[in-house]
C-alpha cells in the first residue's frame, strides 16, 4: 500500500475546534516525521487562519448585506486539506464565511510605543512570516487559502 500523502477533515467554526486542528496537524506531522520547527510553523498559520474565520467569518454575504450564519442547517465550516509533497507541505483551508482576502490584508507589527499601541491584529504578519507561500481565492462558497511550507 502506498504511504498516505493527503489528509482531509472538516471542522466546525468554533474556538475549541482550533486546538483540535492543531492536534490533528501534529499527528500528521508525526506520521511524516516532520521537524518540530515545521510543525510549529504550520500550527501558527492554521491557528491564525482559523481564529480569523471563527472570530470574523461568521457572517455570510448576500446581495444586500452580511447576514449572520446562525442557520443550524448552514453553519460555519472550515475544511482543511493537507498534501505532503517531496519538497513541501500544502495546507488548503476553505470556509463558507464572509469573504476575506488574507493575502491582501494589511500586516501589522508592533510599531508604536506601548502607550499608543492598540493590542491585536498581528495574525496576518505571523501567517506571512511563517508560511513559505500564501495564496487566496474567492470561491462560490466562501474563501480558499492555500499555504505552503518548505520541508
Amino acid at each position: 500500500m502506498a504511504p498516505q500523502n493527503s489528509w482531509h477533515r472538516v471542522f466546525s467554526g468554533a474556538i475549541p475546534e482550533i486546538a483540535a486542528a492543531a492536534s490533528w496537524i501534529e499527528s500528521i506531522a508525526a506520521d511524516l516525521n516532520l521537524p518540530g520547527r515545521l510543525v510549529f510553523d504550520m500550527q501558527i498559520c492554521l491557528e491564525e487562519l482559523m481564529s480569523n474565520i471563527v472570530r470574523h467569518g461568521g457572517v455570510r454575504s448576500s446581495s444586500t448585506a452580511y447576514l449572520p450564519l446562525t442557520d443550524p442547517e448552514n453553519p460555519l465550516l472550515i475544511s482543511i486539506t493537507v498534501d505532503a509533497l517531496a519538497d513541501r507541505i500544502i495546507v488548503t483551508v476553505e470556509d463558507n464565511g464572509r469573504p476575506f482576502d488574507v493575502a491582501q490584508a494589511a500586516a501589522k507589527r508592533v510599531d508604536q510605543p506601548l502607550e499608543q499601541l492598540q493590542p491585536g491584529g498581528l495574525g496576518i504578519q505571523l501567517i506571512r512570516s511563517f508560511a513559505s507561500n500564501l495564496e487566496y481565492r474567492r470561491t462560490e462558497q466562501g474563501n480558499r487559502v492555500i499555504v505552503e511550507f518548505r520541508r
Binding site: 510605543p113 506601548l114 499601541l117 493590542p119 495574525g123
Partner: protein, 112 residues
C-alpha cells in the same frame, strides 16, 4: 494554560505561564493576567513552559504591558522557547517588552 504568581525581591512580581498561549489559552488567562498587571508595577513573565504562542496570546501580553506602563512600571519576558521567541521578535513585541534569558538580569532591567 496555567498561571502562577510569586512575589520576588525589590517589589518585582513573577508570573509563570505554562502550556499553549493560543486563542483558548489566551481567553482562559486574559482577565487574571490583566488584573495582576493592573495591581503590580514591575512584572516578569516567565515563558519557559509556554510551548506555543499566537496573536491572541501576544494580545494578552500587550494588554498586561500597557497596564504595568500606566502604573509607571514595566513588563519583561523571561526565557521564551526558541519558536515562541521567534514569534515575539517577528511581530516586534520585543520593542515594547524586553526579552531576557537570565533571571539575575531582571533587577537591572527594572532598575531595582
Amino acid at each position: 494554560m496555567k498561571l502562577d504568581v510569586a512575589d520576588m525581591e525589590n517589589g518585582i512580581t513573577k508570573v509563570s505561564l505554562s502550556g499553549r498561549l493560543d486563542i483558548e489559552g489566551a481567553l482562559k488567562i486574559d482577565s487574571e493576567f490583566k488584573k495582576i498587571a493592573e495591581e503590580k508595577k514591575n512584572v516578569v513573565v516567565d515563558l519557559s513552559e509556554v510551548t506555543f504562542i499566537a496573536s491572541l496570546g501576544i494580545r494578552t501580553l500587550i494588554i498586561g504591558a500597557k497596564a504595568t506602563a500606566s502604573n509607571g512600571g514595566k513588563m519583561v519576558l523571561l526565557n521564551p522557547q526558541p519558536n515562541v521567541e521567534k514569534v515575539l521578535r517577528t511581530t516586534h513585541v520585543d520593542t515594547v517588552m524586553p526579552i531576557i534569558h537570565d533571571l539575575t538580569a531582571v533587577a537591572a532591567v527594572f532598575g531595582a
